[in-house]
Symmetry: C2
Subunit: 282 residues, 2 copies
Amino acid sequence: MRRQAGCSHKPAMRIAIVAPSCRLTEEAAEQVHEIARRRGDCQLSIHPQCFMSDGHFAGPDKARLAALREMMADPAVDAVWYARGGYGSNRIAEAAAAGMPEEARRKIYLGYSDAGFLHAGFHKAGLEVAWGPMPQDVVRDGGEAAVNRALDWLVRRDPEALEPGVDGPAMAFNLTVLSNLLGTPLEPDFSGVDLIFEDVGEHLYRIDRSMFHVTASPAIRKVRRIRLGRVSDVLPNDPAFACDETAIVESWCRRSGIAFGGRADIGHDAANHVVPFPVRND
Amino acid sequence: MRRQAGCSHKPAMRIAIVAPSCRLTEEAAEQVHEIARRRGDCQLSIHPQCFMSDGHFAGPDKARLAALREMMADPAVDAVWYARGGYGSNRIAEAAAAGMPEEARRKIYLGYSDAGFLHAGFHKAGLEVAWGPMPQDVVRDGGEAAVNRALDWLVRRDPEALEPGVDGPAMAFNLTVLSNLLGTPLEPDFSGVDLIFEDVGEHLYRIDRSMFHVTASPAIRKVRRIRLGRVSDVLPNDPAFACDETAIVESWCRRSGIAFGGRADIGHDAANHVVPFPVRND
């Protein structure tokens, strides 16, 4: 049983919402549903798995994987939209990327933060993925704009939704998530891309440590350049860290010989923009 | 100018204390000095760099590296004892392991937590390193016993100081530190060792994420088995995580085909024991 919002135009884009990490709140689901109904250019289908709960997660691994695979295989689905981040998609990403049904290749996959594990594995498997706002963002201040930005991009690839500095192949990741997928089977090919980081809820010493880790990786050293989105809700550092996040990222870029391309307009906030990963033609 | 504690026996082990991460407190320095004076079997030399301060760090990278290299090269030093953890040794570890003076190979290096970056790089470079209590631990409840345990091991390789389950080649790491050194030039060879983890001040979802990362590494899959020290000061998980730290580690061991060897007696506490890394004979 899925709740659906009607559409005034045909063919409306059919968007399935699943939760590979943490559960979607009822409040967010209702608000996103109402936005889609008013737009009339898309048909949202919220998988009931989104409301399951198993400790930290939106249901057990098995249920999250099954819902994701079901939507990947469904020919009536044009886009898979991850409900929210949190933590947990890494636990099912490798399985989801294995034995891919052909239908999965005709869709686009949108989300950010913890969804980076899926983005990495799915991009590596040849799927079309993009960093961008998620349904749960609707409850943020200004969240309706974030959700509309995501839908504008999904439905009509609105260039206004794109991170404005993107001028070639790019990928965006939460820095801590990226650090945790390096060296795993999910690690994609970063050659020649603009790699955009952001982070949230970390101490600056952890940002520094993650930058050490990430920029030491030979795979990361193949990027065209690194750009930095917002580092928000920084936890207190006692004593104060020696410098701010821009200086941290610049300094690790310098040490590792990677070009630093300045700041970028992504983050854990309502202003978060879309960064489509390169489409592989192999 | 270094403060020295006298010794009643000759030759006393000459132990140099440096701070590659965060600064040593005066209080801890005085207490450790007093312990060494009472023991009379070792001569402590606390490098003045230990009391430097530069934001988060015990002085700038250059000063921390210089103090460490000075003690590594000093023929009058038998052991280098890291003052405390925190964060920062990764910023100087690769430089410290490069262009090693021959004198550095005649010493033992002791510490834990953030010192794991140095342990990894130094072990890889052929030095003798060990996980074990540090001077700053003296201010913990029962900290005098921790410091004496470290000194008992440094001075006379007291088997009582060793982690009791060690029955072959072993290495110990803070899990988060290990996750952040995989894939860097510091990564050592883990083949055939008992790999012992512990962690402190993390949410359980982060322990789970780090275990995902670490156990996915082909380098880590060469270990004999994984054992788990204490996971302390766990930060609240909202909602509660699905299981405890033992179940987390067991489950990732099972998924990755690594044997789980049970719990181990190390951690960020006064009961922390010594785990000497294998001595390389090449």
